[in-house]
């Protein structure tokens, strides 16, 4: 049932991306091209999505608990740190290059378009690269800690 509801949410989300124009790189790039023949349509996507989500979000986290989990897993992190800025910057560079962000990339892959398939596979590769990067930095931090403990113990 959980999987079924997840699928339904994915279908509705995907339909929203398709209808809104987000799954067409030409439209996304025209939105980002403020200095060219600017197409502001996609501002309406984010605006209306927020207009729906914001009030319902407040109601739901105050009045309910999630159907399938113990509690709402909503981060209350307020730190603006380097990974956040660097990650957003790298993502923005890719988005501006291809006109795809993650959701539309997956939708486009589902349509069978070679561009979409290429993008989605490369995106998965980029995510795997991040997993490897994270493991490497964690190992490095552990080594440093061990070295620090060893030198202070000596």
């Amino acid at each position: 049932m959980q999987t079924l509801l997840g699928t339904l949410a994915g279908l509705v989300f995907g339909a929203g991306l398709v209808i809104s124009g987000m799954a067409q790189p030409a439209k996304v790039l025209a939105f980002l091209d403020v200095a060219g023949n600017w197409d502001p349509s996609l501002a309406f996507v984010m605006g209306s999505a927020i207009a729906v989500y914001a009030p319902l979000y407040r109601y739901i986290i105050k009045r309910t608990t999630p159907v399938y989990t113990q509690q709402f897993m909503v981060v209350a992190n307020h730190t603006i740190d380097r990974p956040l800025l660097l990650g957003a910057g790298i993502f923005g560079a890719g988005w501006g290059l291809a006109g795809f962000c993650p959701g539309p990339g997956i939708v486009s892959a589902g349509s069978g378009a070679s561009t979409g398939l290429t993008f989605a596979l490369a995106m998965v590769f980029g995510m795997l690269l991040f997993e490897a990067y994270q493991r490497a930095t964690a190992a490095l931090a552990r080594d440093r800690q061990d070295a620090g403990a060893a030198s202070s113990g000596a």
């Binding site: 279908l11 799954a23 197409d39 993502f91 290429t118």
Partner: protein, 143 residues
């Protein structure tokens, strides 16, 4: 690109908002696509089924669009496959490092007035805009 579509884009946005609310109500989670799909690469027990379902739903909606209205999934205007692949790697790595994309930070985060998400959204929008400016107007690539 004389195709201003405020109504269709608003309708699409409403659906995206509703789908994100479903994820919140059902799973108690923020509907960030990069997180929903990316977490599948490091699966944790009991937290896989709905993520797989959601991803399959996205894929199915692309397939349905191809049958019903192929223009809505037209990839015209996209760069070469090589550049698309580079972009994909950047998007995959960047969204995981920055903990979110257009949906998680842009829609859910801004709705919650999360400072992190507002800063992240401003950053990726600005960088994407600069990228388009450079490729289109300085290097004179695309349309």
């Amino acid at each position: 690109m004389e195709s201003f579509t405020p109504i269709a884009s608003t309708v699409g946005g409403v659906l995206i908002g509703l789908a994100s609310i479903m994820v919140l109500r059902i799973q108690g989670r923020v509907a960030g696509i990069s997180g929903i799909c990316g977490s599948l690469l490091r699966p944790s027990r009991g937290d896989v089924g709905w993520r797989v379902g959601f991803t399959l739903g996205l894929i199915a909606s692309g397939a349905a669009a191809l049958l019903l209205s192929p223009a809505h999934v037209s990839t015209a205007g996209a760069p070469t496959l090589a550049l698309t692949a580079v972009a994909g790697v950047l998007v995959g790595f960047g969204t995981r490092l920055g903990n979110g994309c257009t949906s998680g930070h842009g829609v859910c985060g801004i709705s919650r007035l999360s400072r992190r998400s507002i800063v992240a959204t401003a950053t990726f929008m600005a960088v994407a805009g600069v990228m388009v400016f450079v490729t289109r107007h300085l290097l004179g690539g695309g349309a």
